[in-house]
Amino acid sequence: MAHTDGTSNGNYSIRVRALQHYFGEGELRKQVLFDNQLDVARGEIVIMTGPSGSGKTTLLTLIGTLRSVQEGSLEVLGQELRGATPAAMIAARRQIGFIFQNHNLFASLTAFQNVKMAMELFSFGPEETSSRITAILTRLGLGHRIHYKPRSLSGGQKQRVAVARGLVHGPKIVLADEPTAALDEKSGREVVTYFQELARQEQCTIVMVTHDNRILDIADRIVSMVDGHIKSNVLVRESALVCAFLQQCPAFSALTPRTLTQVADQMASETHPAGEVIIRQGDPGDKFYLIRSGKVDVIVAADGAPQRRTSLEQGDYFGEAALLTGAPRNATIVAAEDVRLYTLTKAQFQVVLDSSASFQEELRKALFERQ
């Protein structure tokens, strides 16, 4: 679901704001990222998709501090990278694990030594170094190949050594470019399962560029980029929840799964504390609301005296009348307790209406019955 709230929160490991990026100089200067916004929470697994040239790798290199931020703001692990000194960038880099499409292993070093290169920048003791390397290689199914050189390893094994090298030092963020492309289904699955473990147990954030459909299921969020714009940014799990929830609402139950997903993807979430006015009678209608949890009171001012009409609960919706009729709000809605709402803007609502005759009919019928 669309995620646009701008509140500052320490739980985010990556925060991108109004990020623009350009390649080239002077007349050849070409914009490759346009006004990107993105928030990634700690422990989230993000999959970035998009055609080549869409700017996803540029965004990845910016997050990885491999390029300097030109315009906009980019916070990684709470540190603003715009204007960061080279030393600060290198320091930030050490908290990030990189997994590249090519394994980039030193042919002269064994798997163990290649992985060890990633640990030598940190002050791990010799025992810990050795045990961590052995553990991670074993975990990735290379226990019997620890002291082999890349020459004696298969492509998939080499890629897994590279994965181990990217993860062994316990990075807080992992940036991976097609990490499973060189792997067969089974070892690809092993690698992504390990990603999930890291994300769940160590709150490690994982951002992956991949076209591998087999592993899409592990994503918490799927970001899709086109021509330098983030075209969609979907929290997958939340989106599935919204779908399930929508399906239980009578008004939405008739929608096809496809439309349902579309609606869910477009919905934004907002919360209101008890007592807050959500919409006010007489205001123009701009949003459609669906109650995810909590209770609201519907208050109508009749003859100058506000009067509580009814209350609405989880699964109920409101705000559709003003959108359907174009008239101002016909009631004031106040949160009776802390509520969480899903919202659709007027335009999005209109799109859904246009796409589904049954939905429109259902809503009009409900509206009619209410009046």
């Binding site: 990845l60 290199t61 491999l66 290198i90 980039n104 290169m117 470019d177």
Partner: protein, 390 residues
């Protein structure tokens, strides 16, 4: 101490064949430098070897003397005068015929040869071989010969072979070889014989233009008494003797001879240029090796940069590689050069000395060579951009 991954060593030794070629190439440069430096030093060492073989503290020469080849003489009377100087133990005349004499074996035409002459009773030489057999020169028309002269003279390698030596001629007069010693040739002189001054008067009767041939001396060998201050003696001699002679220590004469060859002839410069060329060849080869190694591992280096390795690490990497290459190439280069020195010394009779300071000089040059090429290749590794990896 934590043991780090020896990446430099591993990378260098991973491609055995490439390393072998590298060591051959850099080793070749090492040998080239050794040979040039060897020749340059052989020129100097061999030329001044005669001074080293003299048992002299101070040497008297003509005022016009500038090198052994200057052939300037002074009056024998100066020798007598010098004997009166306090602190002087002995003064002996040494006659040197650089180019005026020729040696002839029965089966060969006459060849120019250097002739040294002194009274066999005078302790002029410190060379043990000479001291051992010089007494035999008291017989007339005898000579002792330098075994290390060029083979064309047919001088025997061992003293025992002297018995079989056929008759020979020195300056068209018969001469009998009664002993041999080891001195060596230089770039001017192919061979040396020593005769008594009495014999020299017979062989070179006209060396003093109508006067007594022994009345003009080439070098005066001065020995100071034990405990006397050589510098003081030199000053006294300079005061006592007329200004037609120059007086200096043996070391000063050695230095003057070397300066002459180095400054007044192109020889020193030519060999210096040889060293420079050897150095440049080494730089090019070493650069090729290091550059190729970096090029092959650009992605890996960029990955290290992405991990957070600083430029410092890569500079260290290159310098380490340069150091390993220098050491690995210097050792075989040194061994081969030692063999070449020996071979050259045998063939040319030149004095090819492989001393520790000279080996250290070549090692420093090798190190500088590899470091310089490493610095040239440095830009390449610093240009590795991790942003290109995605």
């Amino acid at each position: 101490m934590r043991r780090r991954v020896p990446l430099v060593w591993k990378n260098l030794t991973h491609h055995r064949q490439r390393l072998l070629i590298a060591v051959c190439g850099v080793g070749f440069a090492v040998v080239l430098m050794f040979t040039e430096i060897g020749f340059r030093n052989a020129l100097f060492d061999s030329t001044v070897k005669i001074f080293r073989d003299l048992d002299a503290d101070v040497i008297v020469a003509s005022k016009a003397y500038y090198s052994l080849i200057s052939q300037e003489t002074f009056s024998r009377r100066r020798i007598e005068q010098a004997r009166g100087c306090p602190g002087v133990g002995g003064v002996f005349p040494l006659y040197v015929e650089m180019f005026g004499a020729a040696w002839k074996n029965p089966d060969h035409v006459a060849i120019p040869i250097r002739v040294l002459a002194c009274d066999p009773a005078d302790p002029v030489f410190s060379n043990p071989g000479i001291r051992q057999c010089i007494a035999a020169l008291s017989q007339p028309d005898t000579a002792i010969v330098d075994r290390q002269s060029k083979p064309k003279y047919g001088f025997p390698d061992a003293p025992t072979e002297l018995l079989g030596l056929r008759g020979a001629e020195l300056c068209s007069r018969s001469v009998r070889v009664v002993g041999s010693f080891a001195m060596g040739c230089d770039f001017m002189i192919d061979g040396t014989v020593i005769v008594s001054s009495a014999s020299l008067a017979g062989y070179r009767p006209l060396r003093a233009w109508g006067k007594d041939p022994l009345s003009v001396v080439d070098l005066g060998i001065v020995q100071v008494v034990k405990g006397a201050d050589v510098r003081k003696v030199i000053e006294d001699l300079r005061r006592i003797l007329p200004p037609d002679v120059s007086i200096d220590s043996k070391e000063a004469f050695v230095a003057r001879e070397i300066r002459f060859w180095n400054d007044s002839t192109p020889v020193g410069y030519v060999f210096f240029l040889g060293v420079v060329i050897g150095f440049l060849v080494g730089v090019v080869i070493c650069y090729q090796i290091i550059y190729a190694d970096i090029s092959d591992h650009m992605a890996e280096f960029a990955t290290l940069k992405a991990m957070g390795y600083r430029n410092r690490y890569f500079i260290g990497f290159i310098l380490g590689e340069a150091l390993y290459l220098s050491v690995l190439s210097f050792v075989p280069g040194l061994l081969i050069s030692a063999a070449i020195y020996q071979g050259l010394a045998r063939v040319t009779g030149l004095l090819m000395l492989l001393t520790v300071p000279r080996a250290a000089l070549v090692f420093s040059l090798t190190l500088a060579m590899c470091t310089f090429s490493g610095a040239l290749a440095m830009r390449k590794v610093l240009a590795a951009d991790p942003a290109d990896l995605f």
